[in-house]
């Protein structure tokens, strides 16, 4: 079967490009984060007005272990290492996060001390979304604030469920180990 040749309309293409809404890099990154992925572009724009974009040099701490938690971070560009301080030992790297990854979201809900430290591993551009920003959104745009909180609780629920699964697995493993010891 003969394929129809593709017809191009230069004038239409040019208008289409011009009419296409321009999204900033921060908006694109935010739209891919679980906490904001269900928001409309208009709502993401409100979140964009509330966030803080910060630049970190290689090795520069983003927060330290034990600091009061203030908010979550989303990596636009670069990489971040999550470290656990162990007394009398060098810090242990727990994970390495890259573009689009987020961390520290529990701090949006409570001010308890950070359980690990985050350090920029290279020149990184990071979005900071802090509890005061969320509070202002909750006060001035309660519907949007509720959507963010709901999404946040879903993220935490998924994480809690997976922690529970891990706990069940470990408990079963321990029980099987105890059983095998009894047999011996």
């Amino acid at each position: 079967m003969k394929e129809n040749p593709k017809v191009s309309y230069p004038l239409y293409e040019s208008f289409k490009d011009k009419l296409k809404p321009k999204r900033s890099q921060a908006q694109m990154v935010l739209s891919k984060v679980n906490v904001f992925s269900r928001l409309s572009w208009q709502e993401i724009k409100i979140i964009e007005n509330a966030i803080h974009i910060r630049n970190y040099a290689p090795g520069e701490p983003i927060f330290k272990q034990g600091d009061p938690g203030s908010g979550m971070y989303i990596i636009i560009e670069g990489s971040v290492g999550i470290f656990l301080d162990i007394p009398n030992q060098s810090p242990k790297q727990l994970s390495k996060l890259g573009n689009g990854d987020f961390f520290g979201e529990i701090a949006l809900l409570d001010e308890s001390p950070r359980t690990a430290a985050a350090t920029s591993l290279e020149n990184s551009t990071i979005i900071g979304f802090y509890r005061p920003d969320l509070m202002i959104i909750l006060r001035t745009k309660p519907a949007l604030g509720a959507k963010v909180l709901l999404a946040l609780s879903e993220v935490l629920a998924v994480r809690l469920r997976s922690t529970n699964d891990e706990l069940v697995k470990i408990t079963r493993h321990l029980e099987s180990l105890e059983g095998s010891e009894d047999h011996e």
Binding site: Y56, D67, S70, Y130, P132, R139, T140
Partner: protein
């Protein structure tokens, strides 16, 4: 003898030396220019700072109302305009209704003084007042000439007072315009300012800024609610005195408002609120020989204000004032003395300003401590 040859300086080093000397001189000259500029501009900078501080306090007061309107779906700019519409409406109504009433009141007092002075009946009243004063302050005596000259001085200065009032109105309008900008764009301005803080102190600064703003709003809201409570109680109380004991106190609304505002100054405020009521009732009762002889209305006013204070201290303030000022009486007296150097407004603002500074210092200290920076 050491005939060492003179040290030769290379022309290049000499040129460098001259260059650095020239640079130092230029920097020194610039520094002097900047210092002179700062010295010259200092009063202007202080004025601007004063306007900004007052506007920031007003922003903290009105921000919850604007936020509430915005949360109902109205754009922030329109919410702000609605709040300002309300403020201008209330102030306008106060001016339209209040100023003519105040002028009539002043006129009445002037007439009473002049009539009594002319009829020599003031001397009879003075005698009875002086008998009472002699038991408290021996040697001090009032006479009708003193009262007349004092009143003449007051009415003579009325023109300059009104001119000053116009100047104050211009200042108030200017402060309100700054407040409007703060209310509409305050969050963005704060974000820009905090954005300049280095990464190490960023989280802490953001938290301190948010908590300080919250505390400040709570503090001012509490103070204003308590002031409103005292004002309403005083108005009701003074009206009751007029109704029950025929106390002949006029300008009740104005006196009640003054009592409410003065109540923001601990310890001294309640007495400051009492004074206008006593003065007005004294003038209004000058023509009544019975009232002027016994002065029972003064006792009534004092008792009424004491009851208002009891209700405020035991019921209203504990509920509405979240962060009590918790100040030593000596601190309050010292603050009022320092504030008096600026004028009546300084006296009035010194204690609340100290209360606000205390909140800010506490929040900064706790923030620094939480981030292990101190």
């Amino acid at each position: 003898m050491n005939n060492s040859p003179p040290i030769e300086i290379a022309p290049q080093s000499l040129r460098l030396f001259h260059q650095s000397l020239f640079k130092t001189l230029v920097y020194f000259f610039l520094l002097i220019l900047v210092l002179a500029g700062v010295y010259k501009a200092f009063p202007l900078v202080m004025d601007a700072l004063f306007f900004i501080v007052i506007a920031a306090i007003l922003t903290a007061v009105f921000n919850p109302i604007v936020d509430r309107l915005e949360s109902s779906g109205i754009k922030r700019i329109y919410s702000t305009l609605m709040v300002f519409g309300g403020i201008f409406g209330i102030v306008g109504l106060g001016i339209v209704k209040g100023i003519p009433a105040l002028l009539i009141e002043i006129g009445k007092i002037r007439d009473v003084i002049q009539q009594n002075a002319a009829a020599d009946s003031l001397d009879a009243i003075m005698k009875s007042i002086n008998l009472k004063i002699a038991t408290v302050v021996p040697g001090f005596q009032l006479d009708s000439e003193m009262i007349s000259s004092l009143s003449a001085q007051f009415f003579g200065q009325l023109g300059s007072i009104l001119a000053g009032a116009l100047d104050t109105v211009a200042t108030i309008i200017f402060i309100l315009i700054i407040t409007m900008f703060f209310l509409v764009d305050g969050t963005r301005m704060t974000k820009k300012l905090i954005g300049m803080v280095p990464n190490r102190y960023f989280e802490m600064s953001l938290n301190i800024s948010y908590k300080t703003k919250k505390q400040l709003t709570n503090f001012l809201k509490g103070q204003l609610l308590a002031a409103l409570g005292v004002a309403i109680q005083s108005i009701v109380g003074l009206n009751l005195l007029n109704w029950l004991f025929d106390a002949n106190i006029s300008g009740v609304m104005l006196i009640g408002s003054i009592a409410g505002l003065a109540n923001m100054i601990p310890f001294v405020g309640p007495f400051m609120g009492m004074i206008p009521a006593i003065i007005v009732s004294l003038f209004n009762n000058l023509g009544d020989p019975v009232a002027a002889t016994h002065f029972y209305f003064i006792v009534h006013i004092i008792v009424m204000f004491l009851i208002v204070q009891m209700i405020d201290n035991n019921i209203i303030s504990p509920i509405v004032v979240s962060g009590s000022m918790d100040m030593h009486p000596l601190t309050v007296i010292l603050l009022i003395l320092v504030g008096s150097k600026i004028g009546v407004l300084g006296m009035f603002l010194a204690v609340p300003a100290w209360g606000i500074s205390k909140v800010i210092i506490q929040e900064v200290y706790q923030g620094l401590k939480g981030h292990h920076l101190i």
